[in-house]
């Protein structure tokens, strides 16, 4: 029972955040669809959380190696994702001021 309800709270969280996702994304300005792609790209690198747990835990080296590679991969996405989004948005922001 205890665990069942726990599963269900995960399902609740999933359902709710999907609602939020759809609601928020549908309102993103068409101008910004390319930056949107790159920022969601960075956000999906949230897998970093799992990677750290696996890479840092007290596990056999084989396991940890997988974690380290995963961590590296996610970190790359985080860094490049946010940087390139910032780069693109700056262009639009510049317009903002000019007008």
């Amino acid at each position: 029972m205890e665990h069942t309800t726990d599963i269900w709270s995960l399902i609740f969280v999933f359902a709710l955040s999907t609602f939020i996702g759809l609601g928020v994304i549908l309102r993103v300005s068409r101008l910004l669809h390319t930056p949107l792609m790159s920022i969601t790209n960075a956000i999906s690198a949230i897998a970093v959380v799992g990677s750290i747990i696996v890479a840092g835990g007290d596990f056999p080296p084989a396991i940890r190696t997988m974690g380290v590679i995963a961590l590296f991969a996610s970190m790359t996405n985080i860094v490049s994702g946010f940087l390139i989004t910032h780069r693109m948005l700056k262009m639009f922001k510049k317009e903002e001021k000019k007008k």
Binding site: S29, T40, A47, G50, V54, D58, G67, A70, S74
Partner: protein, 470 residues
Amino acid sequence: MTMVDLVQFAYVVSAGLFVFALYWMNSPKTAGRSVTAGSVAMLIAVGATWIQPEILNHGWIIIAIMAGFVVGVPLSRVPLTAVPQRTALSHSFGGLATGLVGCAKYYLWAGGDVAQLTPFRTTALVFEVILGFLTFTGSLMAAGKLQEIKWIPQRPVTYPGQNFGNLALLAAAAGLGLLLVIDPVGPWSAMAFPAIVGVALLCGVLIVIPIGGADMPTVISILNSYAGLSAVAMGFVLDNKLLIIAGALDGSSGLILSIIMCRAMNRSFTNVLFGAFGKVQKSTAVTEARNYKQETVEGAAQVMEQASLVVIIPGYGMAVAQAQHRVRELYDQLTRRGITVKFAIHPVAGRMPGHMNVLLAESDIPYDVLLEMDDINPEMPHCDVALVVGANDVVNPAARYDKSTPIYGMPIIDADKARMVLAIKRSKNPGFAGIDNELYFGDKTFMLFGDAKAVIGDLVKQLSGNSSGH
């Protein structure tokens, strides 16, 4: 406040910030905050995870993070035309990460605390691994096709029974997964798990191979939502709500973008994924040949000087030619003469959603003259000159009536309604859909053959010449 509480609290804050990051993307005015909110959220997430007592070997973590920076920074400096490839590439990284974490967790629990592999968890684990590795290879292929790497075929590769074969493979993976769920550490499962991984990797390749280069953006978005979903699955496995939330946000974004693209191309998911689009047509198209009316740069310049409303319709060609800065100069020349210049942006112009907007924004064109298709079409009849810069399918009137064309039913920009059309392209080749463009044979249409950058450069010279002549 125990450590658990602290971590959970941090996760709540981080989740909230992620939502705001996406919320603020609803206008260029607020979009600036998005990156800040997003990166702070990520920082909190990483920090909160790292401080947990069970994290011991910080050395490895620090190295991996630094490596991430080393590779990530250059990856963020790619030219804007390479953004689609870059996106695909990092999707594959994302897929790899979730897939690997899935493996690690499985072997960890299968090796020791088997009780952890509850049916629910194992199911989630199988999803995570399949989606992860499928995204990994699939995105790699997509990136390759977009980057036009030699040994990756650009055109769709098809063979008999292809779709059936892929479905069979996925079914196999699912079956093996079921096996694991029923008995996580039975005699079979030793082979079952690696088999699942292998099949997933293979599927990624086989599913993307039959898809044409220009459909990649759609595929990328779909893979984007897969990546998100596998993060969600990881959240279910690790019982981590932040993963679920961020993954779900990501998943919905990928889903919506791909839907928008399919709508704008008037095509269905199945058609994009299994249609091997742009294969057959391409082969035939180039054979045809009809005669175009051409126009000189001088002539074009004069016509534009007379105009009061000029609508510029950019397409993939402008991106290929990197012509956006020349376009900007042209824009200045014309506006200086008091001519109204507007840009007509088709939702799928270029090779990814919003492609044209970023390029034109890069060249400092104020974004309030970038009009969406539905806003500009009513104005087209009053437009004196429609200047088509390396666009093709998105202005092809055949989409309106010719049921036989692959783009039939796709809403287009009504360039043909303008009083006069000037079209810049290099050759007589068709666009990505592989069909000739009625518009270019219309009697109001005059072609300016050549590379967009060069041609517009000449136009600008011509105009500035004239103006100094004034």
